[in-house]
């Protein structure tokens, strides 16, 4: 398997466009809106492409895409710069390592894998925050964000379904 044998998979279609969509949804959910005195949840939309890209195929550009999305989240949410970038990259790396076990499994099973990836990202964020701020974030707040994020799996499934067979070498 080499670079010379790679069949081009348009980076804009499977990397660029999903990334922009996620950033757009993040912006939209960042507005201070209350519905019947309840605030909107704050799911991590960027977990969707971070998971799907790792499942679709290994790529040189995808980690930098994940890094960019993480940096955007850090700047937009006002978190320490690098926190979400590192958390998403940790989840991406783990999914990439376990990719051979995941590919071709049923939808509920993949949903469980997605939840595991979200848990890894949340755990990484928890540990990095603990190291950075020398205090423990609220586990309840972490759990709420985790629950809101795992509901996004259908979007990841759609992305995987669309591009999983695009590169014959990674079927």
């Amino acid at each position: 398997m080499s670079l010379s044998a790679a069949r081009p998979l348009d980076p804009w279609r499977w990397l660029g466009f999903p990334m922009l969509q996620c950033l757009g949804w993040t912006l939209l959910f960042g507005i201070p809106l209350r519905v019947f005195t309840l605030q909107l949840p704050e799911p991590v939309f960027c977990m969707v492409p971070a998971f799907a890209w790792a499942v679709i195929r290994p790529s040189i550009m995808a980690p930098f895409g994940v890094l960019l999305m993480g940096l955007f989240l850090d700047i937009f949410w006002g978190a320490p710069v690098g926190l979400w970038a590192l958390s998403l990259l940790t989840a991406y790396g783990v999914v990439l390592l376990c990719r051979n076990w995941m590919v071709g499994q049923s939808r509920p099973m993949m949903w469980a894998w997605f939840a595991a990836a979200c848990a890894i990202a949340s755990l990484a964020g928890f540990l990095f925050t603990r190291l950075d701020a020398r205090a423990s974030p609220s586990l309840i707040a972490v759990a709420w964000q985790f629950l809101a994020t795992i509901l996004l799996y259908p979007f990841a499934h759609r992305l995987i379904d669309r591009f999983e067979d695009a590169d014959v070498r990674f079927r």
């Binding site: 960042g30 507005i31 890094l67 926190l83 990095f128 925050t129 701020a133 205090a135 972490v142």
Partner: protein, 376 residues
């Protein structure tokens, strides 16, 4: 020479390995950025150009995205006002009746308070200028609780300025750029606020943890706090003014004392940013206020003689303490006059005790009198 003809043209690199190398490079970059971050230091230079540019772009974009929601909210509110006008009127009448009674009590208490202040020669804090702003983004995650307000350096906002909503303290400004300020909320994991319990005067540090109710750490004394105690800023350390409402103490499910924030009572759409730096600023403002005072008359009021009504009207208004309702537009640094102003021979508190002590015996002010015009 074409790439294929070069000595490296036939070099075969496994894609999985190159992807792993790319991942490691990205991780190294993220780690380096995380280790160099100093967002919670309240220093302008620590906030970074990247964040400033990000905030400057995000503020108008999010403001535009939030506009439909805001308009819908305003429309719903107008509709509700129209439909429930009669019941609202009844409720307001009852509230006004109660407020009238409280007003009388407040005037009497202020009278007593001002006398005590005069007798003790207590230095009161002058009003702090404030800037109103609208919040355009809101991050509510476990690792960052911040808001972006649409007012920045052009309104003299600086990192460290306290931020209040109509109900209570919201947080502090950590970064500022043109047209936008980043507010670190009290609930953020990096937030530490010196507070006191109103009932016992016990001190504590309000520590955010990403949840809705921050913790009360470092509480001292025997039973310093009870369920429902009011929590205010203590002013310790000089980073915040004393007495800003923070919330109410409650026992958390984990057995720790926590605070239900007063600012959670209503949506934080609009905030007031106090242009407060530290107490040296207050001292300077007080000095300027003394400079602005007119010189005392040649013969002062004689003890035991009632002050004429005309003199009462021109008496300088006593400086008020900082309250959530005090809104003063930011004043630019006014150039001082070339000719030196005559300073008062004696400072204001030193003049007033004699008159204050005599006042109750001669003419106690009527409860309904205009408070600013009452001489003490």
């Amino acid at each position: 020479m074409a790439f294929r003809e070069s000595p490296f043209g036939e070099l075969k690199v496994p894609l999985a390995w190159t992807a792993a190398v790319a991942l490691i490079v990205a991780v190294v970059v993220a780690v380096a950025l995380l280790m160099s971050d100093r967002r919670e230091t309240f220093q302008s230079e620590a906030y970074g150009v990247t964040r400033q540019v990000g905030d400057a772009v995000a503020a108008p974009v999010s403001g535009a995205l939030a506009a439909p929601g805001r308009w819908t909210g305003l429309g719903m509110e107008s509709l509700r006002d129209y439909l429930f006008a009669v019941s609202e009127n009844r409720r307001l009448k009852a509230e006004l009746e109660e407020a009238r009674q409280w007003r009388d009590v407040a005037i009497a208490l202020r009278d007593t308070n001002d006398r005590y202040k005069s007798l003790l020669g207590l230095k009161t804090e002058p009003p702090i200028p404030m800037v109103a702003a609208r919040t355009v983004t809101d991050s509510r995650g476990p690792f960052a609780n911040t808001r972006l307000a649409n007012a920045g350096v052009e309104k003299n906002i600086q990192p460290g300025n306290p931020v209040m909503s109509e109900s209570g303290l919201v947080g502090r400004v950590i970064g500022v750029t043109r047209g936008a300020s980043r507010i670190l909320l009290l609930t953020d994991i990096a937030s530490r606020t010196p507070v006191m319990i109103d009932r016992t005067n016990a001190r504590a540090i309000l520590t955010g943890d990403g949840g809705p109710n921050p913790k009360l750490d470092y509480l001292r004394g025997k039973e310093p706090v009870k369920q429902g105690d009011r929590v205010l800023t203590s002013g310790d350390g000089g980073v915040l003014p004393r007495g800003l409402p923070v919330g109410v103490a409650v026992k958390g499910l984990d057995g720790r004392w926590r605070v239900i924030l007063a600012s959670d009572a209503a949506p934080i759409d609009f905030v007031r940013i106090l242009l407060f730096q530290d107490f040296s600023q207050l001292e300077k403002a007080q000095r300027e206020e003394l400079d602005r005072m007119p010189p005392p008359p040649p013969s002062g009021p004689v003890e035991g003689v009632a002050t004429p009504p005309g003199a009462a009207a021109v008496a300088p208004k006593p400086p008020t303490t900082i309250t959530a309702t005090t809104v003063t537009p930011p004043k630019p640094a006014a150039p001082r006059a070339a000719t030196p102003k005559p300073r008062p021979v004696t400072p204001k508190p030193a003049v007033r005790p004699a008159a204050s002590a005599a006042a109750p015996a001669i003419a106690p002010p009527p409860a309904a009198a205009a408070p600013a015009e009452v001489p003490f």
